[in-house]
C-alpha cells in the first residue's frame, strides 16, 4: 500500500527571541552571532499515513500538533527530517482562515475552491452544494462579517470538504458547530473515507477518534509517545491527562509487593451488601486473569498504591459464563488491594461499545460514597449493579480506582477495557439502549386503530 504522507524523523526548531528586533539582528549579523534561543516544537517524529486511511493526532495543548500539520501542508518547513506528500492537500488548519469577512459566503467559498486548485467550471458546479451543506440560508450571499461564529464555521467546513482533495487535513475544526451539523460533518467524513480519501485530523473529540480513525498518533512535548490502534492510544492519552506521565510501565507491572504486609483487616463492601464474595480473601495475589470476562488487551495505568486483584461478573446472582441474558441484572465485583494508606478512594466503572462510545459510566464520588482512610494491606470489594437493556453485542468495561484530591483525581489503578461482556437482546431495535418504546398506528380512513 502506498503512503499518502510519510513523516520521517521530523524535527522543528523555532527561534525564540526576547524582542522582535533580535530576529532581524540575527538574520543580518555578519558574525552569525546568536540573539535568540532554540525551541524544539517537534523532535524525531516518524509515522506513515497510508493512502485512504484516516488518522487522528492527539496530544495536549502545545504538544506540537498544529506545527506538525502545518509542516504536512508545507506551510512550515521541517528543520530536520523529511515529509513526503503524495496527492493534493486541502487544509483546514484554522477555521475560516483565509476567509475574508467583507466577502459573502459564496465568494469566499469560490475563493477557497480556486485556492485549492479547482477550475472555474468545477468551482461553479460546487458552490450550490457548499451553500446547501453549510445550510446558512440566504446568509450565503451576505458578507461573512454578518455571520454568527457557528455559521462562519459551517461555511468554512463545507467549503473544505467539497474541494475534492486527495488528502484532507483538519486541525481542531470538527468539534465545532451544533450537534446536527457535527453529525453531518462526520457523515461527510465517512463518505470521504469510503471514497478512498486520506484524512488527517487533530481533535479533542476522543470518541470521534475511536469511531472514525484507523490509526492514532499521540504527541507529547513534540515527540510521538504512542501510535497505533485508536482505542489504545486514546487510553494512553487519558492516562497522560490523568497522571501527566506517559510511560506504560504500569501495564507490565511485576508481582505485587508482599513484604511489610500487616495482618489484613476484613474486606469492606462499598455498596454495603452483606455477602462477601471472593471467599473472604484479603491477600494481594492477583487473580483477575481467572475471571472468564477478563480481556487481556486491557490498558492499565496508575501509580500502583492500590490494585484491582480480582474480578467477578454475575448475572442475576449467578457467575456469568456466556452472555448476559436479556433483562438480567448484571453485577460487577472487584476486589481492590491497597498497598498504601489512601484517603478518599473513589471507584468507578464505565460501559463502552467496541468502537469506543461510552454507554454509561459512574463512580462512587458521583454517588457520594467516598471510602475514607484505607490502611495498607486492606482490601475493598466494590460491587456495581446495573440492569442494562443494551443492544446485543460485546461491550468493554473500564474499572478504575482513583484517589480524590483537591487538585482532582489521581489514578491509583485504572483498567481500561479490562472486561468484555456479551449482552443478549430480546427486542429488535436500532441504537444502543432499549428505551422500551411503544408504537401506535392509526388509519383514520377506516376508523380502525391498532396497537402494536
Amino acid at each position: 500500500m502506498t503512503n499518502a504522507v510519510q513523516v520521517r524523523n521530523v524535527a522543528k526548531r523555532f527561534r525564540v527571541f526576547a524582542n522582535p528586533m533580535d530576529r532581524v539582528l540575527e538574520y543580518f549579523d555578519p558574525f552569525r552571532r546568536e540573539y535568540g534561543k532554540d525551541f524544539w516544537a517537534l523532535e524525531d517524529v516518524t509515522f506513515d499515513v497510508p493512502a485512504g486511511r484516516t488518522i487522528g493526532i492527539l496530544g495536549r495543548n502545545g504538544s506540537g500538533k498544529s506545527t506538525l500539520l502545518q509542516m504536512v501542508c508545507g506551510v512550515l518547513q521541517p528543520t530536520r527530517g523529511e515529509i513526503d506528500v503524495d496527492g493534493r492537500i486541502a487544509a483546514l488548519l484554522e477555521l475560516g482562515a483565509g476567509f475574508c469577512p467583507d466577502l459573502t459566503g459564496r465568494e469566499n467559498a469560490e475563493f477557497f475552491c480556486l485556492q485549492n486548485g479547482l477550475t472555474k467550471a468545477e468551482t461553479a458546479a460546487r458552490l450550490d452544494e457548499i451553500g446547501e451543506f453549510a445550510d446558512v440560508g440566504e446568509f450565503f450571499d451576505r458578507p461573512m462579517r454578518t455571520y454568527s461564529s457557528g455559521m462562519f464555521v459551517r461555511v468554512a467546513f463545507a467549503a473544505s470538504i467539497h474541494v475534492d482533495p486527495d488528502i484532507l487535513v483538519v486541525d481542531e475544526a470538527l468539534s465545532v458547530g451544533d450537534a446536527r451539523f457535527q453529525h453531518k460533518c462526520f457523515q461527510r467524513v465517512q463518505q470521504l473515507r469510503d471514497a478512498g480519501k486520506t484524512i488527517i485530523v487533530v481533535t479533542h473529540d476522543l470518541t470521534a477518534v475511536v469511531r472514525h480513525c484507523d490509526h492514532a498518533v499521540l504527541l507529547e512535548r513534540g515527540r510521538v509517545v504512542d501510535s497505533g490502534e485508536p482505542r489504545e492510544v486514546v487510553s494512553v492519552y487519558h492516562e497522560l491527562l490523568a497522571t501527566g506521565r506517559s510511560d506504560r510501565t504500569l501495564t507490565q507491572r511485576s508481582q505485587p509487593r508482599q513484604d511489610e504486609a500487616p495482618p489484613p483487616p476484613p474486606a469492606k463492601v462499598a455498596t454495603g451488601t452483606a455477602d462477601v464474595p471472593f471467599e473472604g480473601r484479603t491477600d494481594a495475589v492477583a487473580r483477575f486473569a481467572e475471571c472468564p470476562q477478563y480481556h487481556s488487551g486491557e490498558l492499565r495505568f496508575g501509580d500502583g498504591r492500590a490494585e484491582f486483584v480480582e474480578f467477578a461478573v454475575l448475572a442475576d446472582g449467578e457467575p456469568l459464563s456466556s452472555s448476559v441474558p436479556c433483562g438480567a441484572t448484571v453485577e460487577i465485583l472487584a476486589r481492590v488491594y491497597f498497598h498504601d494508606a489512601v484517603e478518599h478512594a473513589v471507584f468507578g466503572f464505565g460501559f463502552f461499545t467496541t468502537d469506543g462510545v461510552l454507554v454509561y459510566g459512574t463512580n462512587t464520588a458521583k454517588s457520594h460514597e467516598l471510602v475514607d482512610h484505607v490502611v495498607p494491606g486492606e482490601s475493598v470489594v466494590v460491587r456495581f449493579r446495573v440492569t442494562a437493556p443494551l443492544q446485543a453485542g460485546a461491550y468493554f468495561l473500564n474499572l478504575g480506582c482513583n484517589q480524590a484530591t483537591p487538585d482532582g483525581p489521581v489514578a491509583l489503578d485504572r483498567r481500561h477495557s479490562v472486561l468484555q461482556v456479551e449482552f443478549e437482546s430480546a427486542a429488535e431495535f436500532d441504537g444502543l439502549v432499549d428505551l422500551a418504546s411503544e408504537f401506535n398506528t392509526v388509519r383514520p380512513q377506516t376508523g380502525l386503530a391498532r396497537s402494536a
Binding site: F14, R15, P20, R23, V24, Y27, Q70, C73, G74, V75, L76, Q77, I89, A90, A91, L93, E94, A97, G98, C100, D102, L103, E107, E110, F111, L114, Q115, N116, T119, K120
Partner: protein
C-alpha cells in the same frame, strides 16, 4: 533568476487565483468607504493639480518644446504613481495576509504580484484622466500610442521584482514600508519627472539614465506625446531590461530565501 522563472510560472498557473485575489483586494479596499474606487485617483489627481499649479502658474515653467508643461509632466507622473503605489502596497502583501501564509496552502509568491495588478486598475483610471488632459491641451494620439503596452509591461516587471523584495524584507523588518515611503519620495525627485533631464550637465546625464523608472517614464511620454518608437532606443532598452531582470532575480531570490520564515515570523 531560477527563482523568478519559477515564480512567473506560478503566477501563470495560478492566474484564476490572482484574479480572485485582485477582486477580493478591491472589495476590502473599497467596500468600507463611500467614495470607494474614486479615492484611489482623487488623491493623485489632486497631487497633479498642485504640481501643475506650482510649476506652470507659480514658477511659470516654460512649455517643453511646443507642449504645455502639464502634459509632459502628467504623462510621466502617471506611470510613476503606479510604480510607487504598487511597490509600497506590495511591501505589505505578506504581512497583511498572515492567515493565507500561516493557515492555508497558498502560493504566497503571487501576493506581491496581486498588489501590482490592483495598482494597475487605478492605473487604467489615471490613463483615462490623462487622455482627457491631453485632449484638452490639444494633443492628439498618434501611432506611437501602440507601444504603450510594451512600457506597461516594463512597468509591471520592474514593480513586481521590487515588490517581491520589499514584501519579503517587510516580514523581517516591519519598518520597510515606512522606509519605502521615504525612498520613494527621494526616488521621485531624482527621476526627471517634474524637471527635464536637460537641466543636468550632459556629462552627468548618464548617471540619471541608470534609473530604470526613467526608461518607463520617457517611454510613456514617447507613447502618449508622439515620440520615437522603442526600437529606436536599443541601448536604453538593453540597460533597462538587464536591470529589471536583475531586480526580478534578486527579488525572487530574497523572497524565496525568507519565505520559509514567513509562517514562523508572522
Amino acid at each position: 533568476m531560477i527563482a523568478s522563472i519559477g515564480y512567473a510560472r506560478s503566477i501563470v498557473s495560478n492566474r484564476l487565483l490572482v484574479e480572485a485575489m485582485v477582486r477580493r483586494q478591491f472589495r476590502t479596499k473599497f467596500a468600507a468607504t463611500i467614495g470607494g474606487l474614486a479615492w484611489s485617483f482623487v488623491a493623485p489627481l489632486a497631487t497633479m493639480l498642485v504640481y501643475w499649479f506650482v510649476f506652470s502658474v507659480g514658477l511659470r515653467v516654460q512649455p517643453v518644446g511646443n507642449l504645455p508643461f502639464i502634459v509632459v509632466f502628467a504623462a510621466a507622473f502617471v506611470p510613476w504613481l503606479t510604480f510607487s503605489e504598487s511597490v509600497v502596497t506590495g511591501s505589505t502583501a505578506i504581512t497583511e495576509n498572515p492567515h493565507l501564509v500561516k493557515k492555508c496552502v497558498f502560493p504566497v509568491e503571487i501576493l506581491p504580484f496581486v498588489s501590482v495588478v490592483v495598482s494597475l486598475v487605478t492605473h487604467a483610471f489615471l490613463l483615462l484622466i490623462l487622455f482627457v488632459i491631453l485632449l484638452v491641451n490639444g494633443v492628439r494620439p498618434t501611432a506611437s500610442l501602440l507601444q504603450l503596452p510594451y512600457y506597461l509591461l516594463a512597468l509591471v516587471a520592474l514593480s513586481t521584482g521590487l515588490s517581491w523584495f520589499a514584501a519579503a524584507l517587510n516580514v523581517l523588518l516591519r519598518d520597510t514600508r515606512e522606509m519605502l515611503g521615504v525612498v520613494m519620495n527621494l526616488w521621485f525627485w531624482v527621476t526627471p519627472i517634474v524637471w527635464p533631464l536637460e537641466m543636468v550637465p550632459a556629462r552627468f546625464a548618464w548617471l540619471f539614465r541608470l534609473n530604470p523608472v526613467l526608461y518607463v517614464a520617457e517611454g510613456y511620454r514617447d507613447s502618449l506625446l508622439g515620440g520615437d518608437p522603442f526600437w529606436t532606443k536599443p541601448l536604453e532598452a538593453a540597460g533597462f531590461w538587464c536591470m529589471t531582470f536583475a531586480v526580478l532575480g534578486i527579488g525572487a531570490f530574497v523572497f524565496r530565501r525568507v519565505r520559509t520564515e514567513f509562517a514562523e515570523v508572522l
